[in-house]
């Protein structure tokens, strides 16, 4: 290391501190008590790294950098202010932006360096742009589906998996050709273009209920592509940040697919919902018991212990604030109220927790599946709001059920089960839920927000 200017050491030190702060940031996120400190650590680390980079002696022109930093901040503020119900699509969109950045930098690096790109470098550069561009379009598609700009039903056709894997295979083969002959500059657009198409094709067959897994996978890809960019630019900071993000996305994807008892490949290539339509809905009409808000309120008021199980239906109906009122009314009467949250409830990992926390429900009342399942036998009332498959007891008992083996919330072990549902229409993938036909189950038909509101009125009387 001869003739390294002093500022280069300063820059390296800012990167070193930033790296430590990033790791601390994630460490502090482990508990709600320290989590905000974690965000602060991340912000300081980011600021240090950006300022350090601006000191870089090789930078000759700052005008466009500053314009871009300001413009990005202006776009970033509204993205930080979206409603909590829109967080899944916002997250998908930010994966797309991250991947866009990585792809553009990778593309420029190739054209600046070609044709003298050593094989290993060409390999990681290919990985960077392939992962980056498929994550870019894949995340845009996912955001479009979540925002309901695009149709949410999975779209499948014969030979879909063959087409998709074929596309990816072609891109990888061409990347291999570039590794061998980096001078063939004309091949490069192909390894950007094909993954862009693949990203779209990959998300077309994905249904809404698979979104938690898909968002996590895209998160992982975004991280890995950034790590690959770190290899290309030989930046330790970027390799580490990318590896952390990749690991995070990977852990979440594994959690999500475990919670659905499915493999990654099954989520991506399974098109779960399609084959079951014929099998379901052929059941004879069985009788269910239904109840009015007055009856439901009376049962809830008489209970000692209530577990509320929210699902995506609660988010769709925007019922979380009414649910908080119900929580308050019951708590005031001395009823012990907890929430049982399935890992894949909602459209992204942790989605329900954020919505309920926004409605001011204390986080120590939000229990994950392992914590709450032991409680159901001692629970007087399990109240299911807008959740379906995650409460389906067929997953435990019926070997022929498409969701057999999926871990579920054991609401059927509670003394009384109440299910708020619009109608008897089957849930995602049209799977029949035997829970609804149990003697202990009361169906509460109606819109979640209105129904919970009526129960609250019955409970509260008129003195508030």
């Amino acid at each position: 290391m001869i003739n390294v200017p002093a500022t280069e050491y300063v820059i390296e030190v800012t990167y070193l501190i930033a790296t430590a702060l990033f790791i601390l940031s994630l460490k502090w996120l482990s508990s709600p008590a320290t989590a905000r400190r974690g965000v602060f650590a991340g912000e300081i680390g980011m600021l240090l790294a950006v300022v350090g980079t601006l000191l870089h002696h090789g930078i000759v022109e700052y005008k466009w950098i500053f314009i871009a930093l300001v413009l990005g901040s202006i776009i970033g503020v509204p993205l930080g202010e979206v409603a909590m119900t829109a967080v899944p699509q916002r997250t998908a969109l930010s994966h797309a932006f991250g991947a866009l950045c990585v792809t553009l930098v990778g593309t420029a690096e190739f054209y600046l360096r070609a044709p003298d790109v050593p094989p290993f470098m060409m390999g990681v550069l290919s990985m960077e742009v392939i992962l980056g561009s498929l994550t870019f379009t894949g995340s845009l598609m996912a955001a479009g589906k979540l925002q309901e700009i695009l149709p949410q039903r999975p779209i499948t056709y014969k030979g879909q998996n063959f087409v998709n894997l074929g596309l990816l295979g072609v891109a990888i083969v061409i990347a291999g050709a570039l590794v061998a002959h980096p001078g063939r500059i004309q091949l490069f657009p192909v390894i950007v273009g094909i993954p862009l198409v693949f990203g779209v094709m990959m998300i077309i067959p994905i249904g809404g209920a698979d979104m938690p897994t898909v968002i996590s996978l895209l998160n992982s890809y975004a991280g890995l592509s950034a790590a690959a960019m770190g290899f290309v630019l030989q930046s330790k900071l970027l390799i580490i940040a990318g590896a952390l993000d990749g690991a995070s996305g990977f852990i979440l994807s594994v959690n999500m697919s475990k919670a659905m008892n499915r493999s990654f490949s099954n989520v991506l290539f399974g098109a779960f919902g399609q084959e079951q339509h014929a099998a379901a809905a052929t059941q004879q009409a069985r009788s269910v018991r239904s109840a009015t808000p007055e009856e439901a309120a009376a049962i809830l008021a008489a209970a000692n212990k209530v577990v509320i199980v929210p699902g995506y239906g609660m988010a769709v109906a925007q019922a979380q604030h009414k649910v908080r009122e119900l929580y308050d009314a019951l708590t005031k009467r001395g009823v012990d109220v907890k929430f049982g949250i399935h890992p894949v409830a909602g459209r992204m990992p942790g989605h329900m927790n954020v919505l309920l926390a926004e409605a001011d429900i204390p986080y120590d009342k939000l229990c994950d599946m392992e914590e709450i399942n032991g409680d159901f036998p001692q629970t007087d009332v399990a109240l299911v709001i807008g959740a379906n498959d995650v409460t389906n007891p067929a997953a435990r008992t019926d070997h022929s059920s498409p969701i057999f083996g999926m871990p579920i919330l054991d609401v059927d072990k509670a003394r009384t089960v109440m299910v708020i549902k619009r109608s008897m229409a089957a849930g995602f993938a049209g799977i029949e839920n035997p829970l609804y036909y149990l003697d202990k189950t009361l169906m509460l038909f109606g819109d979640a927000k209105n129904f919970v509101g009526s129960i609250v009125r019955e409970l509260g009387g008129h003195h508030e």
Partner: protein, 101 residues
């Protein structure tokens, strides 16, 4: 200060192990903020974009400037938006207060 590729691989491997160990401990309660925070941290790719847009290039300077500038915009919006929303979410998580009746 350039790294050789083997060192890069070591760095990646160790970071991935740290990532697994640290993130495994994050409560499922906070998985949504986890995703938005890692997303903001991942936007550290902005340092690569800044250097790309600002450095002198003998050829391909216009391409580097245009792609670099767009990349900075994309990454910066992730940094600002990601930290903002993560903090907003975390502020909402409150334990049962002593004032609760």
């Amino acid at each position: 200060m350039k790294l050789d590729l083997l060192t890069s691989l070591y760095v990646f491997m160790l970071a991935a192990f740290i990532g697994f160990e640290v993130i495994r401990r994050v409560s499922p309660l906070l998985h949504t903020p986890l995703m938005s925070l890692t997303n903001a941290l991942d936007a550290i790719a902005v340092v690569g974009a800044i250097i790309l847009a600002g450095e002198y290039h003998a050829h391909g300077a216009l391409l580097a400037k245009i792609l670099g500038t767009i990349a900075i915009v994309a990454a910066t919006s992730n940094i600002v938006g990601g930290f903002l929303i993560t903090d907003r979410m975390l502020r909402m998580f409150k334990a049962s207060g002593p004032k609760k009746p």
